[in-house]
C-alpha cells in the first residue's frame, strides 16, 4: 500500500460514516465496533504509508532535498478552468495524519465508555467518523479547493457534534455560534483562495507556492490574499477575535472536545499556515501579524483560564493559548517547532480532556472546581494521568511539552529585540500557573463538596486504558526531537530534520535555554502551588476584593461575548429589520401596490365622465369633433 494510495486512509472513515449514518441504529452495538475498526484500520494503513514514504527517500541523492508524493486527476473543467483533486504526502502531512489517526483511535475507544447509554449513540460515532474522514482529507489534499471542501466538512461535523445534546437550548445555541463564527472565517478563506487563483490560475498548493516565491504575484496582492486566508485560520483555530465559540463548544460531549477542540480541528489553521509558510515568508509583514495575534491570544486566554472554575473551560482556554504558541512559532518561520508543539499538545491535551471526562463520569456529571477537591484518593489513575498531562502542559522537563515549547523559545530568537521571547515567557508562566491551579483544586486539598467526594469512583477499564496509553505517549513524545531516537524509529533524523522549512537542522541541546525554560516552568508551578495549595481559597477571593473590576473583567472573558452579541443584535439584526421594513413598505406597498391602486383609482374617476345624460354625451362628441378639426389645422399649419 504505497504512499500514493493515501486516499484510502480517507475512504475508510468516510465509508464508515455513510454506513453508520444510514443504518447505524440497527448495527450490532449500534455500530461503535465498526467505528473503532475503521479508525484502527486507518491507523495501521498509516504506518504502511509512512513506511513506504520513508523508503522512497532512500532513492534521493542528498537527504536535504524535499521529497513528496503527489497523485491527482481532473475532476471537472469549464473551458480552461479545471478543478483537479488529489493527495499530497510529505513530512508535514505525514505527521498530521499520524496525530489524527492515533488520537482518533484512542478517543473513539474512550468514547465507547463515555457515551454508553446516550440516546443517539450510533449518530455520535457516525459523525465522529465523518469528522475524521474530513480532517484526513484536509491534511492530505494537494489543492486549496479540496482543502476548503474538507475545511467546511470539518466545520459541519463540529456543528453536529457540539449540538449533539440538542435538547438543551445552550447546546443548540453553542453549535449555532460555533458554526457561524467559523463560517465568517471560512468566508475569508474562500476569498483568499479565489484571490490566489485569480493571480496564479491554479488551486494546486505547490504551484501557488512556487508562483509566490518566484515573485509572480504582487506583494500587496499576496499580502491581502494571505491575510484573508489567515482570517480563515483564525476562525477555525479560535484565535483572538474569533475565540468566543471554543469555550461554549464545551457543551459537546468530552471526547468531542478532546478530539476536535484539542487534537485535530482547531489545529487545521496551524497546518494551513504551515503549508503556505513559504508564501508568508515572501511578505514579512504577514509573519508579524501572525506572531502578534498568537501572542495576544496566548496572554489573553492565559488570564481568562485563571478566572474560570469549569475544568473543561479551563482546558479550552489553555488550548487556545497553546494554539497561540504554535502561531508564534509559525510567525518566527519555524514550522518544525510549531508542528512538534502541535503533536505534543495533541497528545497531552487530549489526555487532559479525557481525564477531565473520566472525572466528570466519576463524579456523576459535575465539572465545577468549586465542588471538586481531593479526588486523587478516589481516582488515583485518573489523578496520575491528569498530573502527567498538566506537567507536560506546564512544560516541566522531561515531559513532551517542555521539548516543544523549548523549540518555540529557540525559534523566537529570530525576532530581534527579544520582546517576543519575553512575552512568550510571560505566557508560559501563565500557562504553568493555571495548569497547576486546575490540578490542585481538582485533585489535592480538602474535598469541597463531601457528597460529590463520597460517591466519586474510578472509571471503567475502557476509559482508563486510553488514558494510560496517552500518558505514556506524553512522556515519550518529547524525545523524538533527538537525532538518535528519530533514526531508531526509522526517521531520517530528529523531528526537526523530518519536518523543516528550507533545510533540516540537527537538534543540538542548548543547556542555557533549557535551564531558562525549566526555571520558568518550575517557578510557575510552585507559585501556583503556594497560592492554591496552602491557604488556597483566601488568595483567590482576595484577588476578587482587591481588584473587583479586574476580576469581573476576567470572569466575563473581557466582555467579548457581550460585545459580539450586542454588535450582532443591534448592528446586523437591526439592519435586517430596516431592510425588511423597507422591502415591505417602500418597495412593496408604495412601489407595487401603489401603482396598482393609482390605476384602479384613476379608473374610478374616469367612470364618472359617463353621466347618463344625452346632452352630455352630445357635448363629448361635439368637443371631440371641434378638437380634432382644430388640431388637424394646427398640425397642418
Amino acid at each position: 500500500m504505497g504512499a500514493d494510495q493515501a486516499w484510502i486512509l480517507v475512504a475508510l472513515p468516510a465509508a464508515a460514516f455513510v454506513v453508520l449514518a444510514l443504518c447505524g441504529r440497527w448495527l450490532p452495538r449500534q455500530g461503535d465496533v465498526l467505528a473503532v475498526l475503521a479508525i484502527g484500520a486507518s491507523l495501521v494503513l498509516y504506518f504502511f504509508v509512512l513506511h513506504d514514504f520513508l523508503h522512497q527517500r532512500d532513492g534521493l541523492v542528498n537527504s536535504h532535498e524535499y521529497w513528496s508524493i503527489a497523485m491527482h486527476h481532473t475532476w471537472s473543467n469549464v473551458g480552461n478552468f479545471n478543478l483537479n483533486f488529489g493527495t499530497y504526502v510529505d513530512p508535514l502531512s505525514a505527521v498530521m495524519v499520524g496525530v489524527v489517526t492515533i488520537a482518533g483511535t484512542l478517543i473513539t475507544i474512550f468514547s465507547i465508555g463515555y457515551m454508553k447509554g446516550e440516546v443517539r449513540y450510533w449518530w455520535f460515532f457516525a459523525v465522529l467518523m465523518g469528522f475524521i474522514a474530513a480532517k484526513l482529507m484536509l491534511v492530505l489534499s494537494d489543492n486549496l479547493l479540496l482543502l476548503y471542501f474538507a475545511w467546511e466538512g470539518v466545520g459541519v461535523c463540529s456543528f453536529l457534534l457540539i449540538g449533539f445534546y440538542w435538547e438543551k437550548r445552550s447546546a443548540a445555541e453553542a453549535a449555532k455560534k460555533a458554526f457561524i463564527t467559523t463560517r465568517i472565517g471560512d468566508v475569508g478563506l474562500l476569498i483568499g483562495i479565489i484571490l490566489l487563483w485569480k493571480a496564479t490560475g491554479t488551486f494546486n498548493i505547490q504551484d501557488i507556492l512556487t508562483a509566490a516565491t518566484t515573485g509572480q504575484i504582487g506583494h500587496v496582492y499576496l499580502f491581502v490574499s494571505l491575510m484573508f486566508i489567515f482570517l480563515g485560520a483564525m476562525g477555525k483555530s479560535a484565535l483572538f477575535p474569533f475565540h468566543v465559540w471554543l469555550p461554549d463548544a464545551m457543551e459537546g460531549p468530552t471526547p468531542v472536545s478532546a478530539l476536535i477542540h484539542a487534537a485535530t480541528m482547531v489545529v487545521a489553521g496551524v497546518y494551513l499556515i504551515a503549508r503556505l509558510l513559504p508564501a508568508f515568508e515572501v511578505v514579512p509583514a504577514s509573519l508579524l501579524v501572525v506572531t502578534i495575534v498568537g501572542l495576544v491570544t496566548a496572554i489573553l486566554t492565559g488570564f481568562m483560564a485563571l478566572a474560570t472554575t469549569d475544568i473543561k473551560k479551563v482546558l479550552a482556554y489553555s488550548t487556545i493559548g497553546q494554539l497561540g504558541f504554535m502561531y508564534i512559532a509559525l510567525g518566527c518561520s519555524h514550522p518544525d517547532a510549531a508542528i512538534m508543539h502541535l503533536m505534543t499538545h495533541a497528545f497531552f491535551k487530549s489526555l487532559l480532556f479525557l481525564a477531565a471526562g473520566s472525572v466528570i463520569i466519576g463524579t456523576h456529571h459535575n465539572q465545577d472546581m468549586k465542588q471538586l477537591g481531593g479526588l486523587w484518593r478516589k481516582m488515583p489513575i485518573t489523578a496520575v494521568t491528569f498530573l502527567i498531562g498538566s506537567l507536560a502542559l506546564a512544560a516541566v522537563p522531561p515531559f513532551s511539552g517542555f521539548w516543544s515549547k523549548d523549540e518555540i523559545f529557540h525559534g523566537t530568537t529570530a525576532w530581534n529585540g527579544g520582546w517576543v521571547t519575553f512575552l512568550l515567557g510571560f505566557a508560559a508562566v501563565l500557562t504553568a500557573l493555571y495548569t497547576t491551579r486546575l490540578f490542585v483544586r481538582t485533585f489535592l486539598g480538602k474535598p469541597q463538596d463531601q457528597a460529590v467526594y463520597d460517591n466519586a469512583h474510578e472509571t471503567g477499564p475502557v476509559m482508563v486504558l486510553p488514558l494510560i496509553i496517552l500518558a505514556l505517549i506524553t512522556c515519550v513524545a518529547g524525545f523524538t526531537v533527538f537525532n538518535g531516537v528519530g533514526r531508531a524509529m526509522g526517521f531520517p533524523g530528529g523531528f526537526t530534520e523530518f519536518v523543516f522549512l528550507h533545510e533540516p537542522e540537527r537538534f543540538v541541546m542548548n543547556w542555557s535555554w533549557a535551564a531558562a525554560s525549566a526555571v520558568i516552568a518550575f517557578g510557575g508551578v510552585f507559585l501556583a502551588g503556594w497560592i492554591y495549595w496552602g491557604n488556597r481559597i483566601t488568595i483567590s477571593t482576595r484577588l476578587a476584593d482587591w481588584q473587583p473590576g479586574v476580576y469581573n473583567m476576567l470572569v466575563n472573558k473581557f466582555y467579548f461575548d457581550d460585545l459580539y452579541q450586542a454588535g450582532i443584535d443591534r448592528g446586523l439584526l437591526g439592519f435586517s429589520y430596516v431592510v425588511s421594513w423597507f422591502d415591505r413598505y417602500v418597495v412593496n406597498d408604495t412601489g407595487v401596490d401603489g401603482v396598482a391602486d393609482t390605476t384602479r383609482y384613476s379608473g374610478s374617476i374616469l367612470k364618472y365622465v359617463q353621466t347618463g345624460k344625452v346632452p352630455a354625451y352630445a357635448l363629448g362628441i361635439a368637443l371631440g369633433a371641434v378638437g380634432l378639426a382644430i388640431a388637424g389645422l394646427v398640425v397642418r399649419g
Partner: protein, 499 residues
Amino acid sequence: MRDYTIFIPEFIAAGSALGIIAVDLIWPRVRKDLLAYLCAVAAIAWAVASVFYIGKTPNSFQGLIQVDDFTTYFRLMAAGIVFCIALISPNYIRGRIDAAAEYYALLLLGCCGLVFMAAARELITAYISFELISFSLYILVGFLRRDIRSNEASLKFILLGAFASAIFLYGISFIYGATGSTYYDSISKAIDANGSNTAIVVGLMLILVGIGFKLAVVPFQMWAPDAYEGAPLPITAFIATASEVAGFGLFLRLFSSAFHTGAHEWAWAVAILSAITMTLGNLVAIQQTNIKRLVAYSSIGQVGYMLVVIAAIGYGDAHAGAGASAGLLIHITGYIISTLLLFAALIAYYNRTGHDTIRGMRGMAETQPFLALIITVALFSYAGLPFFAGFTTKLLMFQSATSNGLLWLIALGVVNSAISIYYYMMIVREMYLFDPDENVKRFSINPLLAGLAGVLLLAVLFIGIYPGPVLHGASKASTPLFQAGADATSNVTAQMLPK
C-alpha cells in the same frame, strides 16, 4: 355594365329576411324558434354563396361597390355573426320579445349594411350602408318594449347616432367639395395631385368623428356602455361584433384607398385617438360591476388596439399597410369568435339565473362548470393569454403594425392589455374562488347553445394554436386594399358622365 350577379349573396340575405317576415305573417302561430333556424339557414346560404367569389377577378358595380377578396372576407364574417346570433337568441327571446320575425330580419338586413360598408368604393354608398346598419341597430337595441333600460338605451343611441351621422355627412360634403368627386380613387388622385387643403383636413377630421362614433372611439364612446347595458343580451353581442366589423371595414377601405395619399393628415390623429381609447377603455373597465358594461369598455379597449393598425397604415407604405390590415383582420376574427363565445355562455347563464352582474356569477364553477370554462376561455382570449385566439391574433396584429414611429403606441397597447388581465381575472375570481349562493344548484343548459359554444371554443383554440389558414385568408383579403382600383372605376366614370 350593371352586373347584378355580384350581389347574389346579398340578394339571398335580404330575400330570406323578407321571407322570414312573410312566414311569420302567414303562419302567426308558428313557433318562434323555427324563424331562428330559418335565419341561421339563410346565413349559411349567404356564406356558401359568397365563397364562390373567392379568387375571382374583382369587378365593381358601376364603381360603387367593389366585390373582391376583402368583401368576401367581410361577407363570411357577417354570415358567421348572423348565424351565431340567430342560434343564441331563440330561448332568450321566448319570454321577452314577441316580434321575433322582425328581430331576425333586422339581423340579416343589418349585416347586409355591414358588407356594403366594407365593399363600398364611393362615399354615398358608404353613407347609405352606414345608415342601414345604424338604423337596424337602433331598432334592435330598443326591442324590449316593456324594459325601460332598453328604451332609454335606444333613445340615447338614436339621438347621438343621428347627431354623429350629421357630422359625418358634413365631413363628406367638405371632401366632396374639395376633390369634386365621391369615388375613393378619384379622391385619392385628387389629393395626390393638388395636395390637401383646409377643407380636406376638416372633412377628414369630421369623417373620423362619424366612424369614431360607430366604433365607440373615445371621446365619442359614451353611447356604447349604455347601449350595451340596455340592449337585450344577444343584441349586445350583435353590437359588439357587427358594428365593430362594419366600422373597421369602412375604416380600412376608406383610409387605405381614398385617403392613403393624404395619410400624414390623419395618421397622427388616429394614433392619438387609439392611445386615448385603449387607456380609458381599460381603466374604466376595472371598476365595472355589470358584465355587459364591462364588455362595453373592454370592446372600447379592443377598438383602441385595432386603431393602432389604422395608424400603422397611415404611417407605413402600401406593403406595410397590407401586412398591418391582415393583422387587423385576423384579430377582429378572433375577437368576434371570442365575443360570440362569451355571450353564448352569458345568455345561457342569464336564461337560467337572470343575473348579469359580475357578483351574480359567483360560484359558477360549482353550478355550471362548462359555462364557467367557456367564459374563462373567452376572457383569457380577450386578455391575450396563450393557446387562445387573443394571444396569437394580438401578437400578430401588433407585430404587423410595428414601425419605428409607432412603437410607443404598441408599448401602450401591450401595457393596457396587461392591465386588462386584472379585470378579466376578477371575473374568473368570482366564478372559481367562491362558493355559489346557497339557493343556486347545479343546472344543465340548452343543448343547442352548448353545441354552438363547443364549436366556438374549438375555433378559439384553433386560431390560438394554428393561425396559419386564417392568417392566409386575411392576407389574401387585405391585398386588394392597396392596389389602386383605377382599372375598375376609370372606365365607368368616363362612361357615365356626358361627354
